[in-house]
């Protein structure tokens, strides 16, 4: 019986795929923005923020969150500070951190 339940919970069932696809489609429908436009928006946000802050562009996350039909755009932008060292290989934008 436990084994059966484990099978039922399988992650890549078509039921699970349907739920994931719907979640994404509904978010973009409701916000009236295509997934491609969201990428463009993300790049523009990065460009603007980079003018003022030294940010880790590879780790920027710009996405929607949904809570009971209330949608918000959440941008998670890690920045480099005096205390966090920018990796050597990273392409520096703005002033390099002084050590």
């Amino acid at each position: 019986m436990k084994l059966l339940k484990m099978f039922r919970r399988r992650k890549n069932s078509s039921q699970d795929i349907a739920a994931q696809r719907l979640r994404l489609v509904l978010t973009h429908d409701r916000a009236n923005i295509s997934p491609g436009m969201l990428e463009v928006l993300k790049d523009e946000i990065i460009a603007v923020i980079s003018k003022h802050l030294d940010i880790d562009t590879n780790k920027v996350i710009v996405d929607f969150t949904e809570d009971n039909r209330e949608t918000r755009l959440v941008a998670d932008i890690p920045i480099y500070t005096n205390r966090t060292r920018r990796p050597e290989t990273g392409s520096a934008k703005g002033d390099p951190a002084t050590s």
């Binding site: 039922r8 039921q15 349907a18 739920a19 719907l22 979640r23 509904l26 009971n68 039909r69």
Partner: protein, 261 residues
């Protein structure tokens, strides 16, 4: 006191709007209510056939709007129940034959003589949908557990909310518990969660639906039909009765329903 106007809508076609309208009309009539079902799908009428009343139509809704008949003359009485009436859509006209004001006037007249007025909305989100929902106190959104149908339902719910037209509740139709058990169909919990509206009923897929429409005898009249029972329960919930949901779902969902009510 005038009756409650309920529009049955969906966005997507073919999900069971007309079936739901016919069955809920009968279910409410079985409970002793005065019911008027209005087919708002001008040009593609089908509620008459679903109810088995197609041979008794004399006038239709457009005839009434254009002043060619009195309101009562445009109603067909369902002989199975003394107080169940249907108003047919015009078959040879299009949606532009009706304005929002026309439909509001029709619904108001119907509400004068009914406890419940059910409006069968056309598919889509254009003019036909707009006039169908304009006079309603409540919109029942019919959807199926499929990505396409749920997506379209979300559009309709969004429009209703954005324009503050009427509160909406969900009917999940053509539900197959066996497929859900095998993780091959969206479960009710997920659909309700995604759409974020109240669920008023889950109607299981039922092969009896076909012979019902073949004969013009909706499944609500069939004591042994699972779908019929589900529709009768929705009818009771519409009258304010607290009816537990049928045991079609995973345990967690049932528990959630009982927990929240």
């Amino acid at each position: 006191m005038s009756g409650k106007v309920i529009t049955i809508s969906s966005g997507k076609g073919g999900v069971g709007k007309t079936t739901a309208t016919a069955n809920l009309g009968l279910s409410l009539a079985m409970l002793g209510n005065r019911v008027t079902c209005i087919d708002a799908d001008i040009g593609l009428r089908n509620l008459d056939v679903m109810l088995g009343l197609e041979n008794r139509i004399v006038y239709d809704i457009v005839n009434f709007i254009e002043g060619r008949c009195r309101f009562r003359q445009a109603l067909v009485r369902d002989k199975r129940f003394p107080e169940l009436y249907m108003m047919a859509a015009a078959q040879t006209r299009d949606k532009n034959s009706i304005t929002v004001e026309d439909m509001t006037r029709v619904a108001r007249e119907a509400a004068e003589i009914s406890d419940y007025v059910l409006i069968d909305s056309p598919a889509g989100i254009e003019h036909g949908f707009r006039y169908a929902v304009a006079p309603s106190d409540l919109v029942l959104i019919v959807t199926n557990p499929e990505v396409t149908a749920v997506r379209d339902a979300d559009r309709v719910i969004g429009l209703l909310e954005a324009e503050e037209l009427a509160p909406a509740q969900l009917i999940l139709n053509r539900f197959k518990p066996e497929l859900v058990r095998r993780n091959e169909m969206l479960d009710a919990d997920t659909v309700v969660d995604l759409l974020a509206i109240d669920l008023i009923g889950i109607v299981p897929e039922d092969s009896k639906i076909f012979s019902a429409s073949n004969q013009g005898r909706p499944v609500a009249l069939d004591e042994h039909s699972q779908a019929g029972k589900a529709f009768r329960n929705i009818g009771r919930r519409l009258t304010g009765e607290d009816v537990p949901f049928e045991a079609l779902q995973k345990q967690t969902f049932i528990q959630r329903l009982f927990g929240s009510r």
